[in-house]
Amino acid sequence: MADPLLTVTNLETYYGPIMAIRGISFVVPERSVVTILGANGAGKSTILKTVSGVMDPQKGTVTFAGREIQGMDPDRVTRLGISHVPEGREVFPFLSVRENLMMGAFTRRDAAGVGEDLELVYSYFPVLRSRAEQRAGSLSGGEQQMLAISRALMARPRMMLLDEPSLGLSPRLVKEIFEIIARINRERGVTVLLVEQNANMALHIADYGYVLEVGRIVMEDTCARLLEKEDIKEFYLGMKESGVRGTRRWKRKKTWR
C-alpha cells in the first residue's frame, strides 16, 4: 500500500464531559477508499468532524499529507484539500444549485478549472444541470445529497470525508450514489473516508474497513475479509446463521481486538 495520506493517532474527542472518541488510531492510504462502520452513537461522525476541524480533540494527532492538522479551523483544513460532505446534506437552501456548487469552489482561483469541474459534476449527476437555477432547498433529499457530494467535489479535493451519504435515500439512489463515489475515487484519484451504517454498500466499494463501537475501534481488516467474518455478517449485514444475538456484545469479546 502507498504512504498514508491521513494518519490519526490516539484521538480523543469529548462533547462536554462525554468522551465520544476513546483513543482511536487509523490510516487512510492515498487513493484508497476506507470505511468506518458502526451503530448510532458509535462516534463515526465525531471522527470526521475532528478530522475536518469542526471539533477539537483533547488528545491525539491528525496528520494530513505530512502535516498536523488537529485543532485547525475548518476553513483552513478545507484549503489543504479535505472536503467534508456532512451528514444531512447541509446545502445552502436559499442559494441556487449552481451557486451552491460555486460555493464549493470558494477556495479556488482558477476560473477555467472551476468551469471544467462544473461540467464534470453535471456529467456525474445530470439532474443537477436541469435544476441549476432552482433553489437548493426545493430539491428532494436525494438530489440534495447529490448536490452535497458535487459541492465537495468542486473544491477539487485530495480527500473527501463522506458522512452517511445513503441516509434516508431509496435503495436505487443509494446504489447510484455509491457507484458515483467509486467512480470519483477511480477516475479522479480522490481518497475517500466513508462513514456508513449501510455496511453492505460500504464494504463493497471500500478497500479497507474499521469497525467502531462506543468510541473504540474493535476490528479492522480489508473489506473482502471483513465481509467473510461471522460477526460482521451477523451484526452489520443482518445474516444470522445460528441463534439470536442475545446479550452478546463485542465490547465483552475482546479476543479479536
Partner: protein, 300 residues
C-alpha cells in the same frame, strides 16, 4: 400656496407628506436593513444599530465642519470609519456572545449604544449641530409641489445603495459567500469560507449602511447624541417586514415613515409617535411572521 383652489392645496399637502414620508421611511428602512443583515448572519439583534447611525452623522459633521473636508469625501471617510468600527466591534466583542441567550445580547448591545452616546458627547459635545450639505435648504418646484433636495437625496441615496447591495450579494463571490455563511454556518466552514471574517464583513456593511443613513438624515433632522433613538422605530420596521427579510425591512421602513407623517398631519397631537407601533401590533396580531416573513421549515 394658492388658496383659490382648496382641493389642489390638499393634494399638495398629500404629495408633500408622501415625499417626506418616503424619505424618512428610507432612513428607517436602511437602519432596519442593518438589523436584518446582522440577525440573519449571526442571530444577534443589534440594538446599537441606531447609535452607529449617530456616529456616522457625527463623524461626517466633524470632517466637514471641523476639518473643512468636502461633503463627498467626508461621507466616504465617515462610512469607511464606521464600517471599520463595526467590523472591529464584531471581532472583539460580539463574536463572544454568539450562542448566548438572546437576553444577554440585547443587554450588551443596549449597553454599547449607551457607551457610544457618551463617547459622542465627550468627543463632539452634547449640543445640536447642523450638517451643511449640497442639498441643504434647496428645493425645486415640480408641478406645484416644492420638492426639497434633502428629501430627494435620501430617497435617491437609498435606492442607489440598495441596488449596489443587491448586486454585491447576488453577483460577487464574497457576497454569495456571506449569504452562504448566513444560511448554513457549518456548511460554509466545510466549503473553506472564512465564516468569522464574513460575519465581520457583514457587521462592517451594516455599520456602513447605518452611517450612510445618518449622513443622509443629517440635513433633515439635526445631529445630536440622541439621533440613535431612531433605531427603535427602525426596529419596529424590521419586525413589521418580518425580521429576516431584506425587502421586508425596506418596505416596513417606508410603511412606518408614511404612517408616521400622515398620522402627524391628520390625527390629533401625539399620535405621530405611537401610530407606527399601533400598526406594528395590528400586523403582528394578524400576521405574526410580519409582512414578508416566511415560516421556513427545514427539509429532512
Amino acid at each position: 400656496m394658492r388658496s383659490a383652489h382648496p382641493g389642489e392645496d390638499a393634494l399638495d399637502t398629500i404629495l408633500q407628506l408622501v415625499l417626506n414620508g418616503l424619505a424618512v421611511g428610507c432612513i428607517y428602512g436602511l437602519v432596519a436593513l442593518g438589523f436584518v443583515l446582522i440577525y440573519k448572519a449571526t442571530e444577534l439583534v443589534n440594538f446599537a444599530q441606531g447609535d452607529l447611525l449617530m456616529l456616522g452623522a457625527f463623524t461626517c459633521y466633524m470632517f466637514v465642519v471641523w476639518y473643512g473636508v468636502g461633503y463627498w469625501v467626508a461621507l466616504a471617510l465617515a462610512v469607511a470609519l464606521v464600517a471599520l468600527f463595526g467590523a472591529v466591534l464584531d471581532a472583539t466583542i460580539l463574536r463572544r456572545v454568539i450562542g448566548q441567550p438572546q437576553f444577554s445580547v440585547v443587554m450588551l448591545t443596549i449597553g454599547l449604544g449607551a457607551i457610544f452616546r457618551s463617547f459622542a458627547s465627550i468627543a463632539w459635545g452634547s449640543e445640536i449641530y447642523t450638517l451643511p450639505t449640497p442639498f441643504s435648504a434647496r428645493a425645486t418646484r415640480v408641478a406645484g409641489v416644492a420638492v426639497s433636495h434633502e428629501y430627494v437625496s435620501i430617497i435617491v441615496g437609498t435606492v442607489a445603495l440598495c441596488a449596489v447591495l443587491y448586486a454585491f450579494f447576488t453577483f460577487t463571490r464574497v457576497g454569495l459567500a456571506m449569504q452562504a455563511a448566513s444560511q448554513n454556518q457549518l456548511a460554509a466552514y466545510y466549503m473553506g469560507i472564512p465564516v468569522k471574517l464574513m460575519f465581520s464583513l457583514i457587521w462592517a456593511i451594516s455599520a456602513g449602511v447605518a452611517a450612510i443613513a445618518g449622513v443622509l438624515l443629517a440635513p433633515v433632522s439635526l445631529i445630536d447624541i440622541n439621533l440613535g433613538f431612531i433605531g427603535l422605530k427602525a426596529f419596529a420596521a424590521a419586525v413589521l417586514g418580518g425580521f429576516g427579510s431584506i425587502p421586508g425591512a425596506l418596505v416596513g421602513g417606508v410603511t412606518i415613515g408614511l404612517i408616521e407623517l400622515f398620522s402627524g398631519a391628520y390625527l390629533p397631537q401625539g399620535f405621530k409617535d405611537v401610530a407606527a407601533y399601533v400598526v406594528l401590533l395590528v400586523v403582528l396580531a394578524v400576521r405574526p411572521q410580519g409582512m414578508f416573513g416566511a415560516i421556513v421549515r427545514k427539509k429532512v
